[in-house]
């Protein structure tokens, strides 16, 4: 938990500063939006975390979001499939993609970076092909279905808990239990820390790695479904672009190291929230949008540097 101290402090600092400079930051409507975006990006960040903990990387997350989002719209609006069948198909495709990544990395021995970089291009191309490069949407139909992405459970007159955040809470709880409370989770962390040692200790490293990529695939699929329902407009060449970088950044901010073997689900959620709060704060404070990337890059860098310094000082005191 010590690792999360710096990042949590940074998150609170930005919240407090933004709220002081513009109290509207804390109005119910804005908080609800923040929670919703954090939830939508939370799925891919959790997916990325599982892969990063194995010491791997998944660069195809954004393209899978784009492909699954476009696929869902086509299956529902063009092919008129029943909702459960379309959803199941989309999730099966994302699971298949994750499994394929895992198999290519473990059984063929390819590098995760290469496999998922090819995936990034391949799934983006596939999304553009199946849609004929036309934007997709659900139109006026499927308002009921869209509620799983856009509606909220009212708490106060202005604030409600967005449905995606409830879904994320469920998924994060399961992911947290899986990662921190099961033998499988301990094996996952062990494998990321030292794969050879884990294998000699009898851990089925290949199987666990494949499962980690499969989880990441499914998480991207869920995010694809939710993003497409939320936006009601899916641009096959654009939806999900750079999302893998947001997911990886959130995971790393939340305490995962790219060397593998470290990371917590709570940390990943805090990392995701930090990213979304930053984007929101820039708009709420009226900072010009062209400064956005510069500010986010600088704040994240400051965050990880502070985190590293705090840890070093803490370790020295302990030592």
């Amino acid at each position: 938990m010590k690792k999360l101290l710096g990042i949590t402090a940074l998150l609170l600092f930005i919240i407090v500063v933004t709220a002081i400079r513009n109290p509207d930051f804390l109005n119910g409507y804005n908080l609800q939006n923040l929670v919703r975006w954090t939830a939508l990006f939370g799925f891919i960040s959790i997916g990325a975390a599982f892969v990063i903990i194995t010491g791997g990387i998944d660069l195809s997350i954004g393209s899978v979001v784009g492909l699954t989002g476009a696929l869902l719209a086509i299956l529902l609006t063009k092919n008129h499939w029943p909702v459960p069948v379309a959803m199941a198909t989309v999730l099966a495709v994302s699971l298949g993609i994750g499994l394929a990544h895992g198999l290519l990395i473990t059984k063929v021995g390819l590098q995760p970076f290469v496999v998922t970089l090819c995936g990034l291009l391949l799934y983006r191309g596939a999304a553009r092909f199946i849609t004929g490069d036309q934007s997709q949407g659900f139109g006026q139909q499927f308002e009921g279905l869209r509620r799983i992405a856009v509606s909220a459970v009212p708490v106060t007159p202005t604030f409600g808990i967005p449905v995606p955040s409830i879904l994320l809470a469920l998924v994060a709880t399961v992911a947290g239990l899986l990662l921190h409370k099961t033998v499988w989770g301990r094996h996952l962390v062990a494998l990321g820390g030292n794969e050879v040692a884990a294998r000699y200790s009898g851990v089925g490293t290949d199987r666990i790695k494949i499962q980690a990529y499969a989880i990441c695939g499914v998480m991207s699929g869920i995010a694809g479904i939710l993003f497409s329902l939320d936006l009601n407009s899916i641009q096959p060449s654009g939806l999900g672009e750079f999302f893998e970088l947001y997911a990886i950044a959130a995971a790393v901010l939340g305490g995962c190291t790219l060397r593998g073997g470290e990371g917590t689900i709570v940390g990943v959620l805090i990392g995701t929230a930090l990213m979304r709060v930053l984007y929101n704060a820039i708009n709420i404070l009226g900072i010009p949008t062209h400064l956005e990337f510069a500010i986010i890059g600088a704040v994240i860098l400051a965050g990880v540097v502070t985190d590293e310094l705090v840890r070093k000082i803490a370790n020295r005191k302990l030592g």
Binding site: N22, D24, F25, N27, Y29, N30, N33, W37, L40, L71, I74, N79, A92, V93, G96, I97, A100, L104, C118, G119, L122, Y123, G125, A126, R128, F129, I130, G132, D133, Q134, S135, G137, G139, Q140, V150, F227, D230, L231, N232, S233, I234, Q235, P236, S237, G238, L239, E241, Y279, N280, N283, I284, G286, I287, P288, T289, H290
Partner: protein
């Protein structure tokens, strides 16, 4: 196409990594010759290229105009939509030049900085610009609307729906493009009751500053870099920051639909007035439903059709087709609730004819 897509979908999971060679992209040549006789005829056909600045439903309508012109004039024209802006656009144009064409119509991603490149292309084949101009280059003419006037038209729509004024926010994909800049300035000048400017000498207000005038305040122009989730979040954040926000104006086709989605979720439909550009289905539906006040259509169909017509005439040696001032203006159409149904029917007809 349908069957091949279905097969493709079914085969997706098992062959995720075996697809590289399959797929028909938008940059494949149009109107393929089907028989030996036809292919001989095709050899004599003039070949042109119509290059867009991105991938968007807007360009599909323009593409329908290109297809219709192909049929009408018996020529071939490739439609190229660069997915990643400037770098892709340059790559696509270079490959078209390598293959050989009789003329190119380009919507430059970054007019000011592409002058050198456009001049290089213009040294090889006749070049015209469409949608967004590059007036400093050696292009022969520009086919499009006067974006400043279109901005003023959108500004008028804002004044119509907000007669007593209020705070308004502008939303756009990118500000680098000349058409965004001219459109934005047109809206600002109209809303703030400023005198008419000309495209030749256009003074622009800086970004990131509130602009008051009369009963209106133009708060800011928020950019999203063509990212739909970001466009929606920008609209949400504007409503968070300004509880008294009266109007949202979407400068690019998808902006107003994203503003509408945000307004729906906030329960502010009708409360925050929305004015749009272009004719995305969500925009037209929004006008029918009374959720969007109106939109300014640039009639992209004619960008495609007239660009090809002008290129064909130039290739045939008829330079008289080039307007003296280098500007072939496509008139804008203001779409409100009263004429939206008729406009949509007409649009569907044109798109079907060009399919």
């Amino acid at each position: 196409m349908n069957i091949s897509k279905r097969t493709f979908l079914a085969a997706l999971p098992p062959v995720v990594f075996g697809l590289a060679s399959c797929g028909k992209s938008s940059d494949s040549p149009a109107a393929p010759a089907t028989s030996a006789g036809a292919s001989k005829a095709a050899e004599k056909k003039k070949r042109f290229a119509f290059v867009t600045n991105g991938v968007d439903p807007f360009w599909n309508t323009a593409s329908a105009g290109v297809r219709a012109a192909e049929k009408d004039f018996g020529i071939e024209c490739q439609v190229l939509m660069p997915p990643k802006g400037l770098v892709d656009q340059q790559r696509m144009i270079e490959s078209v030049l390598a293959r050989g064409v009789d003329g190119i119509a380009i919507s430059p991603c970054d007019a000011a900085n592409q002058v050198g490149f456009l001049n290089d292309v213009a040294g090889r084949v006749p070049v015209i610009t469409h949608d967004s101009d590059a007036p400093l280059s050696k292009r022969l003419c520009f086919v499009g609307m006067d974006n400043y006037k279109a901005g003023r038209a959108a500004g008028k729509l804002v004044k119509e729906i907000l007669p007593s004024g209020g705070k308004v926010m502008l939303f756009v994909g990118r500000m680098e493009q000349l058409n965004s800049q001219q459109r934005r300035q047109g809206i600002i000048d109209e809303i703030l009751d400023r005198p008419m400017q000309t495209l030749e000498k256009l003074d622009q207000d800086p970004l990131g500053r509130e602009l008051p005038g009369g009963n209106f305040v133009v708060l800011d122009t928020r950019t999203d870099g063509f990212d739909y989730p970001k466009a929606k979040a920008n609209a949400e954040d504007a409503m968070s920051r300004y509880q008294d926000l009266a109007g949202m104006i979407g400068l690019w086709a998808y902006n107003a639909p994203m503003c509408l989605e945000a307004a729906k979720a906030a329960g502010k439909v009708g409360k925050v007035k929305i004015v749009s550009f272009d004719e995305q289905e969500a925009t037209l539906q929004g006008i029918i439903d009374g959720h969007i006040h109106g939109t300014v259509s640039q009639q992209p169909y004619y960008y495609g059709y007239d660009s090809v017509r002008i290129l064909k005439e130039i290739a045939a040696g008829n330079r008289g087709v080039i307007p003296a001032n280098g500007f072939f203006e496509i008139p804008i159409v203001e779409v409100r609730k009263a004429n939206v149904e008729e406009f949509w029917q007409q649009l569907k007809k044109l798109q079907a004819a060009g399919a």
